[in-house]
């Protein structure tokens, strides 16, 4: 897992699509969203979860590996970029190779697009737009330690199996913690109100 990354916590997702709207606002692909929501139990429950690029580490980015035009670059810190506009030929190989169904092809522009972890923001030390706004923290950006400090006891999973192959990813899923009473509030840093500490 890379240092700061996105953690997806499906138990918290309310299906509001703030992430989708936020992704549209991001400068790196303004106007188009690279996130979509999945509904896991349609017709019975409102459960939903966001799908973002998982930034595969091992094997390194199947999408990039199959790209005949070498259009998908992986940065030194493990971020799998969206296709280089000057190289992409719109062949959709990446779409077929991705085990998570992430890359999209704009057929007219003959161009692949996908989440690139808001490189224009993360390079500045900001969180990606989707994880910044997600009202529930279903998308969390930070290190695993930062996540666990906020949500005591949660574990994360970054290895997924597809048939016989295993994929280890840069983005991880949150595995819920056992329900225990924690002495310190999690979820958000405790706030003081007008100078008064409310931790009592």
């Amino acid at each position: 897992m890379m240092g700061r990354t996105i953690f997806i916590d499906p138990g918290r997702c309310i299906g509001c699509q703030a992430c989708v709207s936020a992704c549209r606002e991001c400068d790196s692909h303004r106007g188009k969203s690279m996130i979509h929501l999945d509904y896991t139990d349609e017709g019975r429950s409102v459960a939903s979860l966001p799908t973002v690029c998982m930034h595969c580490e091992d094997p390194v980015a199947p999408c990039a590996e199959v790209c005949p035009a070498d259009a998908i670059l992986v940065t030194v810190d493990g971020v799998v970029q969206q296709a280089d506009t000057t190289r992409c030929i719109g062949c959709a190989n990446c779409v077929n190779a991705c085990p998570f169904g992430v890359p999209k092809i704009d057929l007219q522009a003959k161009l692949q697009m996908k989440c690139n972890l808001c490189y224009d923001r993360t390079a500045y030390g900001l969180a990606p737009m989707c994880a910044t706004v997600c009202p529930t923290g279903a998308l969390f950006y930070g290190t695993v330690e930062e996540l666990q400090a906020e949500r005591p006891g949660v574990q994360v999973a970054d290895t997924f199996t597809f048939g016989r192959s295993e994929v280890r990813t840069g983005v991880a899923m949150v595995v819920p913690a056992d329900r225990v009473q924690w002495p310190v509030p999690g979820g958000l840093p405790v706030v003081e109100i007008n100078g008064k500490d409310v931790r009592r």
Binding site: A18, G43, A47, S48, A123, I193
Partner: protein, 784 residues
């Protein structure tokens, strides 16, 4: 751009607290994207990102929509135009925003904006653009004509709770001083007045008892009649935060919402049975010996009466009324009463009823009897739907209230306000009637002229047939708005006014925290502030000396003085302090007073005896009776992508795409397929919606979201029965039946001014016959 203000927001706790998570410092070793150095450092090719942020400024302000009042920055370009949004690390939302907040900036320079006054002398004519002078002169002439002929009270004023508090203060003053009419009310009447009434009765103060942050400290969170995930999405982070540390979550809602899905106990009761349920829970609390007798003895009155009343609601009876398993009542009673700290938050689901006040009182009784009041993590709250639902009624916009929450019936309160306003007490009109009652009076021709400011009753009031008839009967109707709403399209005069980004002012959020909105851009030419229009109308009506306000700040200073010494004390709140602190909760009586985020910490309420006045509550069935022809319940509510009457959000492409149209949500047991046309019939009419079939709703209940106009308006079907005390309409339950239908009606495009073409992007999938299944997060029983 100067130092990046996105990293930390001066004045909020975040930036003061050491080791906070979100304030990540910039890594100076990293070159900015878009530069060669960045690429050489392993970054990305320079031409990929147009990070042309030079010259951009970020104006700190708040979202214009719901009662959470999330902090945000508006991105303003070199030319001074708003062009984007950036999350803001404010105490309330800590960067979070919902899709409405993210897209809100798109209204500011939207092509549908009204930019010149529109006028027509009769409804047979088309609107034409006129000068401000012509529009104002015509309006003043009509006001004078109507008032001379039929009396002052024949002209009414309806305000809105999305206005800044300064403007709501002006609405109240304008009606009483310039129009000299008793008929003024506001659309907050449709929002949280039931909770307001109950809080006033029980605590002598009309606001939530605890700040949002207290939710993080609670051990048991009860959410009643609130679809937090869709209506107040950013509040969810507090709910999940509480859950993270092991707090139990109880949700009372006929639908399995995103919050209910993860609750420890989800009580899916039949709409309109809330007070029977809460009475029964209290009955069980007593039965189990879990009441806090010491607390009751010192802090409450009326306990004996309440005890006697709830004895009439044993779980067996309530379970029958509410249609729920009997064990749930005991479970809720134990979870809530045994928790060291428990909190109850409620919203329109229990307030929009002909027994809305009683429902809220029954929740207060539960909190009081268990001693869960006035401590960190223990208390009650009501979640305001509209941005300024809380502040909008505090300063005299409501029919029975004067500034500072004073009563218009109280001699002393009247005298105090007349002194501040500089008028004789005899000149101050008595209390008027509520919004729905005013519409009935319009229908009966008792009100002949009307000005509406920032509201859209054609979509938001129940029983559309009556509303249309009332408005059609108006001899003169003017409307203030920045888009041509369905109601404005029916007016004689439309005044183009500013959006929230073009003026400054304050709003009070659901925690009663007053926050300041800042001006991000100049209004388009031809557009004036609501303040300017009201003052100008007052001047032309001969009351100019009482309305000599240059700007919002001048109004706010008068408002502060007018509220001094009352329960709703704003005196100590100044624009400067708000900017410094990020928000102050009232009462705040002095400029060195820190504000009051949590009420009753000293154990005293705002009644003279300092006690909680508990009230016994009797449940009665909803006003629209069930029978063989109408056996089911229709209930209404919001979706996350739209706000209230949709006049603003139904014009924003991304939000329209997310939720293009309403649907009828029903249980699979009725045999409908997903997307099939279903006719929902009530005693007031019928409409056809695509079916959205899901097990996440009670089999006896149908849900339709209400943001759209006829022929796809939930409010053409709802009943205009009112709570006798709060006068809130019973939106959340009426009798209905469902039938198979042939064809689903298209959603009409929002009206635009003559010469304007509707923004093509907002037309996306509006005529798509299928319900927005997946995007709603509701799921469907089959993929269409």
């Amino acid at each position: 751009m100067t130092a990046d203000p996105r990293a930390a927001d001066p004045g909020t706790t975040e930036s003061r607290a050491a080791g906070s998570r979100t304030a990540v410092p910039l890594d100076p070793s990293l070159a900015p994207p878009g530069t060669r150095a960045f690429r050489d450092a392993g970054g990305i090719p320079a031409d990929r990102w147009h990070a042309d942020q030079d010259g951009e400024t970020l104006v700190p302000t708040h979202c214009c929509f719901c009662g959470v009042q999330c902090g945000m920055y508006l991105r303003v370009d070199r030319g001074g135009k708003v062009f984007g949004v950036e999350p803001r690390n404010h105490d309330i939302n800590r960067m979070r925003l919902c899709p409405k907040g993210i897209n809100a900036y798109q209204q500011v320079n939207h092509p549908d904006r009204l930019t010149a006054p529109l006028l027509r002398r009769s409804r047979d004519e088309d609107f034409r653009e006129v000068s401000w002078d012509e529009a104002l002169d015509f309006t003043v002439a009509e006001i004078k004509r109507i008032q001379q002929r039929y009396g002052n009270d024949a002209f009414g004023l309806l305000g809105g709770a999305s206005l800044f508090s300064e403007k709501t203060y002006l609405v109240g003053k304008f009606a009483r001083v310039a129009l000299k009419s008793r008929h003024v009310d506001y659309n907050g009447r449709l929002c949280m007045v039931s909770a307001a009434g109950a809080n006033k009765l029980a605590f002598g103060i009309d606001r939530a008892g605890n700040p949002f942050s207290d939710i993080l400290l609670t051990d048991c969170l009860l959410i009643a009649g609130s679809n937090v995930g869709e209506c107040f999405p950013v509040m969810t982070q507090y709910v999940w935060g509480a859950r993270d540390r092991g707090a139990s979550l109880i949700v009372v809602d006929p639908r399995e919402t995103a919050i209910a899905r993860t609750a420890d106990i989800h009580v899916a009761l039949k709409p309109g049975t809330d007070s029977a349920f809460f009475n029964s829970v209290l009955n069980m609390v007593i039965e189990e010996g879990l009441t806090d007798e010491a607390y009751l003895a010192t802090h409450a009155t009326g306990w004996e009466e309440v005890k006697a009343k709830v004895a009439e609601y044993p779980p067996s009876r309530a379970a029958e009324i509410c249609g729920i398993p009997v064990e749930q009542i005991t479970q809720v009673a134990r979870a809530f009463a045994r928790a060291p700290k428990a909190m109850a938050w409620h919203a329109r689901g229990i307030e929009h009823h002909s027994q809305g006040v009683e429902n809220c009182l029954s929740v207060i009784n539960l909190c009081t009897a268990t001693g869960h009041i006035g401590r960190p993590g223990a208390g009650y709250g009501t979640i305001t739907g509209q941005g300024n639902g809380q502040g909008g009624r505090e300063h005299g916009q409501k029919a029975d209230l004067l500034p500072g929450g004073r009563s218009i019936m109280n001699e002393e309160h009247r005298r105090q306000i007349c002194e501040i306003w500089g008028i004789e007490e005899s000149e101050l009109p008595p209390a008027g009637t509520s919004m729905m009652e005013m519409v009935w009076q319009m229908q009966r021709r008792e009100i002949r002229g009307l000005i509406g400011i920032c509201n859209n009753p054609f979509v938001s009031l129940p029983n559309y047939g009556v509303v249309k008839e009332g408005y059609d009967a108006m001899e003169f109707h003017a409307q203030f708005d920045f888009f041509l709403s369905e109601t404005a399209a029916n007016a004689h005069v439309v005044f183009p006014v500013t959006t929230w980004a073009e003026d400054e002012g304050v709003m009070a959020n659901a925690e009663a925290r007053v926050v300041k909105h800042n001006k991000a851009q100049d209004p388009p030419s031809g557009v004036r502030t609501d303040t300017w229009v009201m003052c100008e109308l007052a001047r032309r009506l001969g009351a100019g000396d009482k309305f000599a306000f240059a700007d919002s700040r001048a109004v706010f200073d008068e408002l502060r003085t007018a509220s001094a010494g009352t329960v709703n004390d704003y005196y100590g709140i100044t624009y400067e302090r708000l900017e410094e602190t990020g928000g102050i909760a009232w009462p705040c009586p002095a400029t060195d007073h820190p504000g009051t985020p949590r009420l009753f910490e000293d154990g005293r309420t705002y009644h003279p005896d300092g006690k909680i006045h508990m009230q016994a509550v009797e449940w009665h069935p909803p006003m629209d009776p069930y029978d063989d022809a109408y056996p089911m319940s229709l209930t209404t509510g919001r979706t996350v992508a739209h706000f209230l009457s949709g006049n603003q959000t139904r014009r924003l492409g991304a939000l329209v795409e997310q939720t293009p149209r309403p649907w009828a949500e029903l249980h699979p047991s009725h045999g409908f397929r997903n997307g099939e046309p279903v006719r929902v019939v009530t005693r007031r009419g019928s409409e056809v919606f695509p079916a959205l079939v899901t097990e996440a709703i009670r089999p006896d209940t149908v849900f339709v979201p209400y943001h759209w106009p006829v022929p796809t308006a939930a409010n053409a079907l709802t009943i205009d029965a009112l709570d006798p005390r709060s006068k809130i309409p019973e939106y959340k339950v009426c009798a209905c039946r469902i039938e198979h239908a042939e064809k689903i009606d298209d959603v009409p495009a929002p009206p635009v001014a003559p010469g304007q073409v509707s923004y093509p992007e907002t037309q996306v999938s509006r005529t798509d016959p299928l319900p927005p299944t997946a995007p709603q997060g509701r799921g469907t029983s089959e993929r269409s």
